[in-house]
C-alpha cells in the first residue's frame, strides 16, 4: 500500500472519516445556530444543552417507553423543538427589544440549568445507547473499514443540511424567512405573522440540535456534558463561516471537521486547538466570516 508523508492510508482515511463524522455534527448544529441567529438575532447558547437533551430524549424514549431509534429520530427532535417553543414564548420573546447580549445571557443560563438538572439525575458517567440493528456492523471497502452507523450519520446530516438549505433558499416559506431576517417590520406590514415565524424558527433550529443529539447517542455515550464540550467548537465554526449564513454554516462545519481530522494525523498535538487557530486567523483577515456579508 502507498504511504503519504509516512502515514499509512488506513490511518489517514480513518481520521478523515472521524473528521467527517465530527463535521456532520458541527454542520447540523451550526446550521441551527445560523438559522436562529438570522431571524432572532439571538446567539443561542442553549444549543449544546438542547443537543444533549435530544440524545437524552432518545435514551428516555427507549428506556422508559421502549421506543426505539427510528421513531426517536423523529420524536426526540419534536420534543426538543416543542420545548424550545416554550422557551421562546415564555422567555426569549421578552428580550427582542433589548441588546443581543441579553439573549445570550438568558440562553447561557438556560444551558447551565438544563445541564445541571440532567447531571443531577443521571450523573456524568454516561449512559449507553445501542446502534440500531439495521445499521450495526460495517463494510470492508478494501482500503478501510466503514462502520455502517457512521456512514449513516454522514448521510443523514448531509440530507438534513441540504433539505434545510433548500427550504430556506429555494421555497416560498424560505423567502418569507429571508425577507423577515432583513426587514421584519415590512414583512409584518404585508400581513405576515412574523412572531409566529420567529417562534417556529426557534423551534426548528433547536429541533435540529435535538436531531443531532439522537444521531450522536449511539456514537458517544449519552452524557449531560456532551453538549458543553461540543458547543464551544460549534460557536467557533459559526464565527468562521459567518453569522447568519446558511450555506456558510454547513460548508464550514464539514470543512473544519475534516481539517481537524487531518491535524490529528499529521500533528496530533494541534488537533484540539486547530479550529480556534483558524477562527483567530479568519477574524483577523475577514471578520465577517468566510461566507458572511460585511456588516
Amino acid at each position: 500500500m502507498f504511504e503519504l508523508l509516512g502515514v499509512p492510508p488506513q490511518v489517514l482515511l480513518g481520521q478523515l472519516l472521524l473528521g467527517l463524522i465530527n463535521g456532520s455534527f458541527y454542520a447540523v448544529l451550526s446550521l441551527g445556530l445560523a438559522v436562529i441567529f438570522g431571524l432572532l438575532n439571538i446567539i443561542n447558547f442553549a444549543h449544546g444543552a438542547l443537543y444533549m437533551a435530544g440524545a437524552f430524549a432518545a435514551w428516555m424514549l427507549l428506556h422508559y417507553l421502549g421506543i426505539g431509534y427510528w421513531p426517536a429520530l423523529i420524536l426526540a427532535p419534536l420534543i426538543v423543538g416543542a420545548f424550545g417553543i416554550v422557551l421562546e414564548r415564555t422567555m426569549l420573546s421578552r428580550l427582542y427589544h433589548l441588546d443581543h447580549l441579553y439573549g445570550l445571557l438568558l440562553t447561557f443560563g438556560l444551558a447551565l440549568i438544563i445541564q445541571g438538572l440532567f447531571r443531577n439525575y443521571y450523573g456524568i458517567s454516561g449512559l449507553p445507547y445501542q446502534i440500531p440493528d439495521l445499521l450495526s456492523g460495517g463494510h470492508n471497502l478494501g482500503f478501510m473499514f466503514l462502520p455502517n452507523y457512521r456512514a449513516w450519520v454522514v448521510a443523514a446530516s448531509v440530507l438534513v443540511c441540504f433539505g434545510t438549505w433548500f427550504m430556506i433558499e429555494k421555497t416560498r416559506l424560505g423567502a418569507y424567512l429571508r425577507a423577515a431576517t432583513e426587514n421584519p417590520i415590512l414583512v409584518g406590514a404585508f400581513g405576515v405573522n412574523v412572531p409566529l415565524m420567529i417562534m417556529l424558527t426557534y423551534g426548528f433550529g433547536v429541533a435540529l440540535a435535538g436531531f443531532a443529539g439522537v444521531l450522536a447517542a449511539p456514537i458517544y455515550s449519552v452524557n449531560p456534558t456532551m453538549g458543553e464540550q461540543l458547543i464551544i467548537v460549534v460557536f467557533a465554526v459559526v464565527v468562521i463561516g459567518g453569522m447568519g449564513s446558511i450555506m456558510g454554516a454547513i460548508v464550514t462545519g464539514y470543512m473544519l471537521g475534516l481539517i481537524e481530522g487531518l491535524t490529528r494525523v499529521f500533528y496530533p498535538e494541534g488537533s484540539a486547538v486547530v479550529i480556534f487557530v483558524i477562527m483567530a486567523i479568519v477574524l483577523m483577515i475577514k471578520p465577517e466570516g468566510l461566507f458572511g456579508r460585511p456588516a
Partner: protein
Amino acid sequence: MTDAAKLLLKVSDLQGWYGESHVLHGINFEVHQGEVVTLLGRNGAGKTSTLLAIMGILAKRTGSVTFAGTEMIGMQPRHIARLGIALCPEERGIFSSLSVEENLLLPPRIAEGGLSIERIYDLFPNLKERRASSQGTKLSGGEQQMLAIARILRTGAKMLLLDEPTEGLAPVIVQQIGRTIAALKEEGFTIVLVEQNFRFAASVADRHYIVDQGKVVDMIPNSELEQNTQKLHDYLGV
C-alpha cells in the same frame, strides 16, 4: 370624487410618537373609494409618519383611523394589512436576499381581486425582463421603485399607501410612475400618495392635503390648484 363615493379611509385627530418624541399633532383627512389623494409637505412635516401610523408601524398613536368603518388604532400592522391596505415604503424595502421574482411574489394574497402577474408585467415590462435577476437590489433605482409598487398590486389590497415613489428618480422614470398611478386609478385602486414634488402630485391626484408640523393644515382640490399656487408655495417653501 363625489360625496356619494364611499368613504374608505377616515383619519381623525391622529397623534403619534417615536418614543418620547411627539411627531403627529392631529392629522385629519378622508379618502373616498377610487380617489388619489396626496399628502404634501416639507421634509419632516410628518407625511411618512402619518402613513406609518395608519399601518400601525408607528405603534404609539392615538385618535382614530378607520378603514371601511373598521377602527384600526390599536391593531397590529399584520391585521391592518389584512383589511386591504398595502404600503410601499419610502426606502422601497426591496429584499437583497430575494430574487426579483421572489420579491414580487412575497406579499401574501389577502383578498380576491388583485392584479394577475400578466397584468403586472404588462404595467411594468422592465420587471418581466429582469425577473430572473438574482438579487432584487441589483436593479436600478427606478426598477426597484417599480418592483416595490408592483408587489403590492397582486395581494388584493384595495388601498395603496405610496411613500414618495418619485424620490431621487430621473424625470423619464417619474413620468412612467405617473402613468402607472393613473393606470392603477383606472383599475379601481384607492391611493394615498406622499409627495414633496408638487408638480408630480398635481399630475396624478384628485385632492391634496397639506401637512405641516404634524398637522393637516389645508385641503386643496386639484381643480383649484391654479388659484392656490401662491398659498401652496408658502406652505411648501418652494
